[in-house]
């Protein structure tokens, strides 16, 4: 399960960086870029919170 969630997170990060490169190269429109990046954000947060957001030892100041 963790593996699948990590793959979804990776897809989210790819959708965060790739659309801007494609927009810069003139391959997609600005609005397409924005929609893809929003999708990337959603994919990242709904998946990463389960495998990256675990409890850890506090090192409070």
């Amino acid at each position: 399960m963790k593996r699948i969630l990590q793959m979804i997170s990776l897809a989210g990060l790819i959708l965060t960086i790739l659309p801007s490169i494609l927009f810069f190269l003139g391959e997609i429109s600005h609005s397409a870029q924005n929609s893809l990046m929003l999708t990337g954000a959603l994919l990242w947060f709904i998946s990463a919170v389960y495998w990256l957001g675990g409890k850890e030892k506090a090192t409070d100041k």
């Binding site: 989210g12 990060l13 965060t16 960086i17 659309p19 801007s20 490169i21 927009f23 810069f24 190269l25 003139g26 600005h30 609005s31 870029q33 924005n34 929609s35 990046m37 929003l38 990337g40 954000a41 990242w44 947060f45 990463a48 919170v49 990256l52 957001g53 675990g54 409890k55 850890e56 030892k57 506090a58 090192t59 409070d60 100041k61």
Partner: protein, 457 residues
């Protein structure tokens, strides 16, 4: 409030880390790399890169000055803070209490708490610039110092209320959320900068990048109403952006868990991702935008994801800051519960956030924050390395059972007054004052201790 009461309240707050960190509690390098990467890609980065452009930083200033400043910051952590931390293995609070006594630590905590409130306030304002977009709120401009519209006031209060509520309800869950957000936020910074390149006229093969960078981004000419920055401004600002943490020794609390002092070099991840790449990216973003408000600037570049990033970045920075402010203020409150103190800190924070000056003058505030706290770092350094060499007693307050070490107190007050005079009378900018303040704190503390310890013993 009686001194004994203050001392007991402070001790109980920091009870869990009273003893030096034991061997089995030490942590690997990975924790430090993650912690620095997460903490230094934050809401402030959106504003600092933008303000560098507004202050007329040139391409060389930004790229070379930023590089040197960040290297100096990393060396400060690695060669000054971490070696003391791994030898003493105490948090800043206990280290200071041994040297300065509980009353002086109490004063330090209150000053620190107020600084935290203002820093959190700046982040509430940054988040509000994104939250206000769908409501067409009139955003503050670069030279605005006071609230620009009723819509702005309502938005700031709404954001402040949400952030304060979450800080009261659950700091830990949000701290974990900020760990999740960090990698995504960093990529958003890069992505937004790439998306802004066509608007600036940069070719797809990047052949004219440096030409455009020089002509349209880091032009070397300050915008109207902004002071002119030079290479040295960038070096010193970058070096001392986290002055309270490295030379000010606040990160003793973090590095006391390090296996080796060399873990101090882990700070390079935070510095070069957050204080170099992210600042450069936010400069590019700002140059391509038609607004001075960070939320609007990010929205123009990459739409909702950009605005979301500004909200998340502001929120994840404001929340732990507000929590720490609450913690520090709890000591001064007359037996209030944590939620009441955090609510009070939230009110101070939200009121401060109403004033766009806090965001638009963020560089000055960050420099002031470091300057106010850095003399205490010099005192710790002197106490750790020099007291025995000068045949003086280290950890004086603990050994003599006193609540206020006057040598440390006077060092702090004299240097703050001297810095104020240098800034307001001699006109020396805040960015250049933390280094002399730290060096002078070392000398002055040793000198005053010579008189003070002789007198009291």
């Amino acid at each position: 409030m009686k001194i004994q009461t203050i001392s007991k309240k402070l001790d109980s707050l920091y009870e869990f880390d009273r003893e030096p960190v034991t061997k089995n509690a030490l942590q690997g390098i990975g924790n430090f790399l993650g912690s620095f990467a997460g903490e230094h890609v934050a809401g402030t980065e959106f504003v600092i890169g933008m303000l560098f452009v507004a202050h007329g930083v040139s391409v060389t200033d930004m790229f070379i000055g930023g590089l040197i400043g960040n290297i100096m910051a990393v060396l400060s952590w690695a060669l000054i803070t971490a070696p003391i931390a791994v030898k003493a293995r105490l948090s800043l609070y206990w280290q200071l209490k041994k040297i300065c006594g509980s009353v002086l630590v109490f004063l330090y905590n209150i000053v620190n708490a107020l600084m935290f409130c203002f820093l959190a306030g700046a982040m509430v304002a940054v988040s509000a610039t994104a939250v206000g977009i769908p409501f067409n709120v009139e955003m503050p401009a670069l030279n605005d110092l006071y609230p620009s519209s009723a819509g702005w006031v309502i938005t700031v209060f709404a954001v402040g209320a949400v952030i304060t509520t979450f800080a009261i309800l659950g700091f830990e869950k949000l701290a974990r959320f900020s760990k999740v957000a960090a990698p995504w936020m960093f990529l958003i910074f890069i992505s937004a900068a790439i998306a802004s390149l066509p608007k600036l006229g940069i070719h797809t093969d990047l052949s004219n990048f440096w030409e455009v960078a020089h002509d349209r981004i880091w032009t070397g000419k300050a915008l109207e109403g902004q002071s002119q920055f030079t290479f040295w401004h960038v070096v010193f600002f970058t070096w001392f952006a986290n002055a309270a943490m490295h030379l000010g020794m606040s990160d003793l609390s973090i590095f006391r868990y390090a296996r080796k002092w060399q873990y101090g070099f882990a700070s390079a991840v935070g510095m070069f991702l957050g204080h170099y790449v992210a600042w450069i990216c936010s400069g590019i973003l700002y140059a391509a935008a038609t607004s001075d408000a960070p939320g609007e600037v990010a929205y123009q570049a990459i739409g909702v994801a950009g605005a979301l990033c500004v909200i998340v970045a502001g929120w994840t920075t404001a929340n732990p800051t507000l929590y720490r402010a609450g913690l520090a203020l709890q000591v001064a409150s007359p037996g209030w519960s944590r939620w009441k103190v955090t609510l009070l800190a939230g009110l101070v924070t939200t009121t401060a956030a109403l004033f766009p000056a806090l965001v638009m003058k963020l560089l000055d505030f960050v420099a002031l924050y470091g300057l106010v706290l850095i003399p205490m770092g010099g005192i710790i350094f002197a106490d750790f390395y020099l007291m025995k060499k000068f045949r003086l007693q280290d950890n004086y307050a603990e050994k003599m059972n006193i609540h206020f070490n006057w040598a440390a107190g006077l060092t702090w007050f004299i240097l703050l007054i001297a810095a104020l005079i240098m800034n307001m009378v001699a006109g020396i900018e805040l960015y250049f004052l933390p280094l002399p303040a730290w060096v002078l704190a070392i000398g002055l503390f040793v000198l005053l201790s010579k008189f003070y310890q002789k007198k009291i013993v």
